[in-house]
Amino acid sequence: MLKVNICGIELKNPVIAASGTFGFGEEYSEIYDVSRLGGISSKGLTLNPKEGNNGLRVFETKSGMLNSVGLQNPGVDSFIQNELPKMKKLNTVVIANLGGGTLEDYLKGIEKLNSSDVDMIELNISCPNVKSGGMAFGIKSGVAFEVVKEVRDLCKKPLIVKLSPNAEDIVDMAYKCCDAGADSISLVNTFKGMAIDIYKRKPVFDNITAGLSGPAIKPIALRMVYEVSRAVNVPVIGMGGIASWKDAIEFIMAGAAAIQVGTANFIKPDICLDIINGIEEFMNKEKINDIKEMRM
């Protein structure tokens, strides 16, 4: 009943642990049976290892949090060699989340992942584009189109493109990414935000801005998922502040074929199980046989 199919890959249920909040799955597997999940999106990878940002990396805000981790990760090679074998044993769909600072980095990363055991690739286009002065690939649809097109030509796995809510026009962005060959769209990544330490009279983060996530962003994320779902004809994976089964169902009703849970994993480590169980109970009570039937 809970099964969903995203670009030919069957997920046990529509609940995926979001990139950057679930490591490579191993940590949470000590607390609960993560094979119950529909899938796990890996910690954001880059071609080469990254140390991440200096200074404070997390700051709580009203109903949310800002993070400035800066894509700390072991690099694609180390992921494939050391993390992926363990991840595959978790018995759930493995999504490799890939970012990059240049088009070449994306392509080299894709090439390596092509010959790995990952089930799907989620392309993170929220990364700063080194060549265009640090503006993210995911801001202007034209730039995103070029990246996704080249990646699509090379990529042998189902390709999800993860959108930044900071895009100039989220619907046009989604449309262009699909035009370039995306098999699925996931949205939204974190919102660019900031916080100031009024006693030090300076931003709390060394990078000045950071990514806002958590329940605070849910209504905006939901609106974006709703709009994008109506504009594209590929499966949409919705996320942004989902912290309960009711939130998850809202995203599914808005048009999401599956959903991702991020920050809420920090609120309650096994919250994904509550969400999976809650969706199932709701469907039973409402006599819904298939996730797709819930779409408004």
């Binding site: 909040t21 991440g52 009203k62 309650k268």
Partner: protein, 242 residues
Amino acid sequence: MLKYSKEKIYENVRINDSTYKIVLKGNFSGVPGQFYMLKSWKNEPLLSRPISIHNLYEDKIEFMYQVVGEGTEVLSKLQFGDELEITGPLGNGFDIDNISGKIAVVAGGIGTAPMSYLVKKLKSDNITAYYGFRNKVYNIDEIQGYVKEIKISTEDGSKGHKGYITDIFKPELYDVVLCCGPEVMMNKVIDMCKDKNVNIYVTLEKHMACGVGACLVCTCKTKEGNKRTCKDGPVFNGLDLL
């Protein structure tokens, strides 16, 4: 071992102005230096708070904490029977079996909290405690009988040495130093140990989100690269920290 559970507050005692102790009844696990993520609220604040094990007995666990912000403020209001969500035990903890000889336990303020459990579990009978406080002295009775000697400092001179604990601490007298306290104090103790070539282990405090090693917001820099304070620590070899 590691689990998430909902517990009921047995006691939440005020120790002094801003220091409190939560007691939960039940059978819990953990080694000295490990911590639990604590949360008693539904919506605000968002994240759980990492609090070290202050004491662990067969039938209860104690968490001592200082009210420093919104989360610990909420914790301080908890009463008998109130619900507390906990995840733990987390982190590596002290490697008790491999700590021996003449030991100095150096702690400052709320940094003395995890040391109560530590000195009870250490296998050495040659432990000296160096406890530094701003003014109010606490956690002393806790460790009487488990340590050979207790040296105290207060910044206002109300008890023991007037000044900082590092004024009277002599690393060269010990085989190993175990330290927890404010960052500036720990850095000073690490420097002193480096200088005299003495082994030192410190337990770090950082802002955390997941507490289990997944989110990488609590990393610290070591000679071997970034380490997760929550998972690879919070206890680190002081000489490895950058």
